[in-house]
Symmetry: C2
Subunit: 722 residues, 2 copies
């Protein structure tokens, strides 16, 4: 850390790329933080020199807020555009607006003056494809033609989506949240948040959602927002040159993403805090809050319907677990096949044909007296003269029983089809789909309880709280609680789940049942395994993610984990004043370690610092090119003052400036539990192990992860990257 | 850490109190965590032995949730009882219920059949004192008598409160939040969360709030809930014997406290996370969530009015800053004087006489057509035939102007009187009082804007968004935003503030203005100084609190902060095998350090471990009493195997088991920025400084805090405790 600091001062970035990281490597949080402090100090001390420097330092201080503003504006705008495009393209599968083809069904009938609220679905300007082609709106032929074109459009959209992802941006597939979690924990995946990913993910997200596949847009929107964050980081060297600071911006961008995905700014901040982020200081909390606010505001300004909540949901489904199929080897074929099955099976059932957001909205709603939905076909009391708000429980009519069957089928269909949908190579999210499954199940249970309470109000369980003629069971509430429970079981969110749910529904009074659902679903799900879906995904991909939730309670010590092991060759070290350039080059060539400890001498083994492989390679290369007299037999000095050498000796190479003088050390007796804690909390890449001041070995983040996997009886080789 | 671990195994708590802390000392988080893991491992391995051990281990695993349940139940119950008692005693100052003296005004008239909603204030059963004594309800004499008795009751209540606090539990005064923050950060204040404090704080809180003083009950309720948490910790050795685990429970208890103070469970969890807690793992988040849920549920079950929100507010005021008066030396006199002034000045103004919760409630409300409040005395449009929901802006009537004057006076009065109220030796909170000040200011601004918009709707600022005859300004919303802004400025909360505000008001649609207010007030307040009121309080009291928000950006190194300094005597160390019992005792006697490093020898200075002063003292004392042959000239061995000694030598004392073999070390070149980070994130008490494996010095938490104070040009001597 200090080494990097000294470097800046003495030589002002002498070698390009010193202090940067390779792809698929882990960053050193402490070092990044230290580098930023150095930069900050430099600007502060310069700011006293001139007016211009003062202005520059003020701009630097405010650049964080500016980046947040830009992220909020862009992600809000993109979310709004995606919403409008999905709306239009989803309706395009069914028909077209004659007055203006770029209007969605709702907009088309909205502009029609003759429409009243009740039959907003039917207006002359909006024609189904069958109507347009054959002139007949009804009848078997029209139904088949509509069905066929619906499937055809769906196939076209999904084919376009999977092809674009395949050709232009492979990183644009999936929800992106597991990778963002990994990136935020300090891992480098170049291009994952790049401009191409942003562009292709935005376009293919629209296509994938519009195709009616069993997937959601919320996770991908978080990815899109993080791409925006990364884009704006490149405008300010404060963020583009410091991987630690960049991750602070990305945490806030994730909050903005959830904010626009649900119209839930507070939920977004909490999601980023509870689910996604790794290092989340209070400063980032405030900035996330601001970014989420701006994003929600922008989306609201763009949203042409003005109703900011459920209108944000579109065609989305969900899966609670993973499966691989043989089809996985042929991603395009897989997508086409799954789309075809989805479209063919979804069309006939009214609850799967419509968009999931509309479905959830209907399932959440309580039946008013004027409700025309099939779900609200109750037998009304003839004595009830006028519609009132507080309708007592009523017996179900034939429509309700019919709806129950269709809902049950829809539930089975969704669970099965989403098993095959998830993991396909197109953008796909998780949130709303889980909620749909939960909401269907909840509504079915709700109606069942309601009818039991009506017909058997003398049963003990109903006796005390449900007098006959009272409104004591609200099936819509069961649906809402079911949705929360299902989403909670999949992601293991608690606080952010409840906040998102009530920001979505406005149901602040139901906070207690929602919390109870969140806690219960967490307990039940944890009994099957502690990992939420994102952690499972991270583990499947072998990312080096050190989860803060896993408790490490084993009794191992640092000495059991450190390398070299008993029969390994000795630790590769450099000495402070007895290594030649040749030795150093041989060490670099023979090993692939990402850094080397520097000791006083091989005999004393007293540690004086740590040098990064990348920095050492660059320093030697540059010195060989630019510095006269540096040859293979030159001595490499890490000491403060080089000894006086005979004139005949070649020019020595002084490398103290790339030496980290404050490497992190623990003793060999330190319990691994403490070591894990240190790696987690300080975001280390490696840690040296000493005993009575002697260097014994080294523990890297990968060693820690492997050891943890081993202790949990998992395959330690599943940890793939560094 | 490991030392403590070994100790448990080999000797099963050989000396009483080994591993505990002294009063006003800081705990070592890593050590506590390690001790808990040892305990956990022991239980897990035992659980395979017998059924009974298995049940015990299951009970242990669930004890966390059981404690949460108990905390939720007790704190919810206490909050409910306090609410009812305050309600009754506040009304007792004005009169009494004839049908049952234990009814409050509202309950009294509630049970009266003749009452309609409009004149719920007047029912024959409720009589003012003047009515009861003289038979006259109206007239100057009755007014003066009521006034006199109002002041008398107030004085009686506040006298009782201050006396009880003084005599029985001095820790029960104030809001308690700064101390709880300090305790949660790892400081020990014995008795602060004890049973007596719980009892006295509950009783005196009722008295203080009922007396009508300018103070609130929310902060004290957090203190009460934490006392409950501490009480239940003592039921389980898992929590009572481990200061780290105890603090996890206390964090959750703080969430339960806010949950019942506002009826805002989510807000409570976020408050605990953002404002109070220091170490807040996800597990604690889930448990806090559960405790807050149970507490809110219990309170709702007790609450006799059924309306769970604003009814929770009672007589509370606020101050945004501190002052000390000469009266401070005479706490009882001070309380009596301030109560007298408050009561005398508050009675005549209708906005200060009523309870603050009612005031806030009225200020937040929009004026409906039927509203009888003075604030809603608008000139109605005679053409408007029937009351509608959406009333256009109207010109203000004389009542509104009158109310404006009274509100302005109330604002000045509250700000001034609370300056003198705050810091008195009675329980006093901050939340609702700040909101009242903000709400008054907001409502005044709101009415002003409304009238401007009505009379000058051709002005540019109003032109575009306010057509004549539209309802474009809602003064109630201004009051709500003002309240949020004022509370935010005082406490610097952001996310938890907004969540609490909308859990309080149900105003989910106003989330954007509320967020804007929170961000703006934070920016403005931060311009005057970064510290919120709790941090200021902590600093005033000199608690050793390492704030995670302060950024340390100075360029100092560990070598600049460590002791011994240049001209100090050398570091007090023990050697592993050349110290006698006498030497060790002399070292303990001559120094007051809380621990000593152990080195191989004074020449090599190689560090092998660290021993706590307390543990060393106890070990020597116990050995001298119980172990034969241990005399002053006995050698103390910290090595694994003691050397063979001549038979003539006295019995040696082996102390490896109290030696911490993994003390935390940094190099002398480590930037202080990193050291501060390590202290914060790992919760260390001390850290040893080495160079090339040689021990150079030590840095304690107090040294870090002193250095930080010095760097910020504050008095380093303001850090008082260890």
């Amino acid at each position: 850390m200090n080494g990097a600091g000294n470097l800046m001062d003495f030589l002002d970035e002498p070698f390009p790329d010193v202090g940067t990281y390779e792809d698929f490597h882990t960053i050193d949080w402490l070092r990044e933080k230290s580098r930023d402090t150095d930069r900050h100090r430099k600007i502060t001390s310069k700011s006293k020199e001139s007016m211009w420097e003062l202005i520059k330092s003020l701009l630097d201080a405010w650049s964080g807020w500016v980046v947040m503003l830009l992220i909020g504006l862009l992600s809000g705008t993109l979310a709004g555009v995606i919403d409008l495009a999905v709306d239009w393209m989803t309706d395009l599968k069914e028909g077209v607006c004659l007055s203006a083809f770029w209007y969605s069904h709702e907009q088309c009938c909205w502009t029609s003056n003759e429409t009243t609220f009740d039959d907003r679905d039917k207006c002359p300007q909006w024609q189904t494809w069958a109507e347009l082609m054959t002139g007949h709106a009804e009848g078997g032929g029209a139904y088949v033609l509509n069905y066929f074109l619906y499937v055809l459009w769906a196939l076209l959209f999904s084919f376009l989506a999977v092809s674009l992802v395949r050709v232009f941006a492979p990183y644009a597939c999936g929800s992106g949240i597991p990778e963002i979690k990994t990136i935020l924990s300090g891992f480098i995946i170049r291009g994952y948040l790049g401009k191409w990913t942003l562009l292709i993910k935005t376009v293919t997200l629209v296509l994938a959602v519009s195709s009616g596949l069993s997937l959601g847009k919320e996770g991908p929107l978080v990815h899109v927002a993080c791409c925006c964050g990364n884009l704006f980081c490149s405008l300010f060297s404060k963020y583009s040159k410091n991987e630690g600071k960049r991750r602070e911006v990305l945490s806030a961008a994730a909050a903005a993403g959830v904010s626009v995905a649900f119209g839930a700014p507070i939920g977004g901040v909490l999601f980023s805090l509870e689910e996604v982020s790794y290092y989340f200081p209070l400063k980032t909390l405030w900035r996330s809050f601001f970014a989420a606010l701006v994003a929600a505001f922008t989306l609201r300004a763009i949203n042409p319907f003005g109703n900011s909540r459920l209108v944000l949901f579109y065609v989305e489904y969900h899966t609670p677990w993973y499966m691989t199929t043989q089809l996985g080897k042929y991603p395009v074929l897989e997508v086409i096949a799954v789309t075809a099955i989805t479209a063919v099976l979804a069309f006939p059932n009214p609850y799967t044909r419509r968009s999931t957001s509309e479905l959830i909205s209907e399932l959440f709603n309580d039946c008013g007296a004027l409700e025309s939905s099939q779900l609200c076909d109750y037998v009304n009391n003839p004595n009830m003269s006028r519609p009132v708000d507080d309708i007592p429980d009523r017996p179900a009519g034939p429509g309700v029983y019919n709806a129950l069957w269709q809902l049950a089928l829809a539930l089975v269909f969704k669970i099965v089809i989403t098993i095959f949908t998830f993991g396909m190579k197109i953008p796909s999210g998780l949130f709303i789909p889980s909620m749909a499954v939960g909401a269907i199940a909840g509504r079915i249970v709700g109606i069942a309880v309601e009818q039991m309470a009506y017909h058997h109000h003398d049963w003990i369980i109903f006796k005390n709280w449900c007098r006959p003629g009272a409104d004591c069971v609200t099936p819509g509430l069961y649906a809402m609680v079911g949705a929360a429970a299902c989403l909670g079981g999949v992601t293991r969110m608690t606080v952010s789940l409840v906040v998102i749910m009530f920001e979505l529904t406005g149901g602040l009074e139901y906070i207690v049942p929602l919390m109870a659902a969140a806690v219960t679903s967490k307990w039940v799900a944890d009994a099957f395994g502690k990992e939420g879906i994102y952690e499972s995904h991270i583990q499947l991909n072998g990312y080096p993610y050190l989860d803060v939730r896993d408790e490490f309670t084993h009794r191992t010590l640092a000495t059991d984990v450190m390398r070299p092991r008993r029969n390994d060759p000795p630790l590769a070290v450099l000495t402070q004043d007895s290594t030649t350039v040749e030795d150093a080059e041989a060490l670099i060539k023979d090993t692939d370690y990402s850094g080397f400890p520097v000791v006083v001498s091989r005999e004393s083994e007293r540690l004086i610092g740590f040098v990064q492989r990348r920095d050492l390679t660059l320093a030697i290369k540059t010195a060989r090119q630019k510095q006269d007299g540096v040859v293979s037999s030159s001595m490499v000095y890490f000491t403060e003052d080089a000894q006086q050498l005979p004139a005949s000796d070649p020019q020595p190479l002084k490398l103290r400036r790339i030496l980290n003088l404050s490497p992190f050390t623990v003793t060999d007796h330190t319990p691994m539990e403490t070591v894990v804690d240190i790696f987690r909390k300080l975001g280390l890449r490696q840690c040296l192990v000493t005993r009575s001041g002697r260097l014994l070995g080294i523990i890297t983040k990968k060693d820690v992860l492997r050891h943890m996997a081993q202790m949990m009886n998992q395959d330690p080789e599943s940890i793939m990257f560094n």
